[in-house]
Assembly symmetry: C2
Homo-oligomer: 396 residues x 2
């Protein structure tokens, strides 16, 4: 699958702006293809608590089936494609980096509480069947048989055996190591502008906030919801909505058995909440969805909402130790779909707008961006998500 | 009031074990009296978030009136005495240290929600009147007139104009500086034992975990709920109960007006909760009371309970930014009353067991301990709280 046409063009190579999952998978794949790659990121990948990438906050659900929404079938299919890449992707990445990524294939159980919740679950189950996704509609009793700690008030659910999870922080770190081993360089800094033409015959130049300029033949803007704040030769990035999420990292007290065996999602009288367990005893509980601009403050109300709904779903969460509170900004595009590949500025690509699906879409993003950097085109299955889909006039 | 008999005895001076409020106020007062003083504390006073002293977690309510409990009248009177010392104490300490302590004299409003809450408030108001404490019984409307952000469901309350607050972290730091300026030395370390006799003619020796021994003529054990874990010549410290408290430090968003003007306490359908505002916009919200031994884990259930009740009391708390989550251990004695002054081991004193009242009792603790170190006796008003009140057989 690796395009053979990938290789150093002119010698200035590829500059990737942003060290989240989209940027790092792109850098790794591009380096594998023989591009000279430089990734620019302000935050060290080794300090997840201090970083701002949504990747370091995300719970890591790989749940195209239980995330399916009417009217978003193409995105769901894109997600299913990426989920199907995950086993090989993880094997390759873990071998390349020598690091585990906490990939868990224990499935996901989505449950509901009241009649409205159950109606949503029924419609979702119909959609899953229509799209050929293997899921199972369960009674409340069947749900509790799978997950005995579920609240007695759970009325029913949908089991999605193929909706898995991964630890995004481990994934990010493994991608950093794999990228480095494949030859990608990394620069600590913040890109404020991309200029055209670049220095010394380069097509483009990425300008850092300290004044440094990195010449490049191709630039990939993968700066999450900050992508539209970078000064570009033309306005090819649409306005992005930062969608704030507040969540908790918790831990089962030492010596206690796991609280849940698989990812458990709830629609608690209309409020979505999830518990994502990891093999080491961590359980991520989230998350709010708030459209408040770039505000990343942890709020009493956000914590309260997540705790209230999680406690309704699995009352035993009250016993969990809270090890970290997290706030991240999901990058939402105008149509909530990713923005991938070339723009109308020659050599300038986007890899962003992944909104709630950045972790799930990491493998397919790597595949799509590798093709884009090698050939300037997208695979047919990704054309819907082309960065230049809106043409010249729609964005901004 | 300073006893003039205080002074270096033998030259080995006083070793104070523990750098919480009780230890630091004792060290300061003893140094002022001319004792040679060495305070031993494992945690730096400049890092409140990392310290374990209950002092660094406490909200800082100085509320003897609204804390009054039937059967604890002597403790309430002791608290009122300490509260009456506060203005002069703060003035002296701020002058001595050059540091502010955030003393706020805006009073406290205690409110209730249901009929049971109101019955508790009525009994409390009767007790306050009987003890001659100036408080005012208010209707729900009168409460909301004072604090417009109170929930509409507030049925009534008691205003205690003399129940104030202080910032315990600032208080602790000011006491450290004042102690140092008065000549008290400080040793970073943990005392594991007090031996008798000490080295070189000293009556006692405090043994540190690294093997160092500090000779002393008098030792004051002020190590909070860890006081009963120190190996002593005789078992003069009763078993202490660590009573865990979980609370939140929050902040009004930049540019927003204060959420409350004074300390607001609620009995929310039986659950106590408080909001303590500071001049700089911080609001401390607490607190759980859990008897779980020395466990200091932050739990999902603890956060949830505090947020639930605070939100019932003042719905606008949901907008507050959470700046810190805190867990501390209040040192509870067998009868919930402080343990002050000499024990039957010559030269060995206690200053502890302050339970929920350590901040309030800081000035009077300094006064009592200064007397104890100078004369070996307690002021008459403190005799009830004598460390040796149980005689030789009761403790342990």
């Amino acid at each position: 699958m690796r395009p053979t046409s990938g290789g150093p063009e002119g010698g200035h190579g590829v500059v990737v702006v942003g060290g989240g999952l989209a940027g790092r998978v792109t850098a790794w794949r591009a380096a594998q293809d023989g591009h000279r790659v430089t990734l620019v990121e302000p935050d060290p990948v080794t300090d997840p608590a201090g970083a701002r990438a949504a990747s370091t906050v995300a719970a890591g659900m790989l749940t195209p089936a239980t995330e399916a929404v009417f009217g978003e079938e193409p995105l769901m299919e894109f997600g299913i494609r990426s989920a199907s890449l995950y086993p090989d992707f993880v094997a390759e990445l873990e071998a390349a980096s020598g690091l585990g990524v906490g990939y868990r294939t224990t499935g996901t159980l989505l449950v509901g509480f009241d009649a409205d919740d159950m109606a949503v679950l029924d419609r979702l189950h119909d959609l899953q069947k229509r799209l050929g996704v293997e899921t199972e509609r369960l009674s409340g009793r069947e749900c509790r048989r799978l997950e005995p700690m579920l609240a007695p008030a759970v009325r029913g659910g949908v089991l999605a055996p193929q909706d898995h999870s991964v630890d995004p922080r481990l994934l990010l770190r493994a991608l950093a190591v794999a990228g480095e081993r494949a030859g990608a360089a990394e620069v600590r800094g913040r890109v404020t502008a991309v200029r055209s033409p670049g220095a010394g015959g380069a097509r483009l130049g990425a300008v850092l906030d300290d004044g440094r300029e990195l010449p490049a033949d191709q630039v990939v803007v993968a700066a999450g919801c900050w992508s539209d704040r970078i000064d570009l030769p033309e306005p090819v990035v649409p306005p992005l909505r930062p969608v704030k999420g507040q969540l908790l990292r918790t831990r089962v007290p030492a010596g206690e058995p796991p609280l849940v065996e698989r990812t458990v999602r709830g629609l608690v009288r209309g409020f979505p909440v999830y518990l994502v367990p990891r093999a080491d005893g961590e359980i991520v509980i989230g998350a709010t969805q708030e459209e408040l601009g770039y505000d990343t403050s942890l709020t009493a109300g956000g914590l309260w909402q997540v705790l209230r709904d999680a406690r309704e779903l699995v009352p035993g969460v009250t016993e969990l130790e809270v090890t970290e509170t997290c706030v991240g900004l999901r990058p939402g595009s105008p149509d909530n779909e990713p923005l991938l590949g070339p723009t109308r500025v020659p050599g300038l690509h986007l890899a962003g707008g992944h909104f709630r699906h950045g972790v799930l879409l990491t493998p397919v993003t790597g595949e799509v961006m590798a093709r884009a950097l090698a050939t300037g085109t997208l695979p047919e299955y990704a054309e819907r998500f082309a960065a230049d889909r809106a043409g010249e006039t729609t964005w901004k």
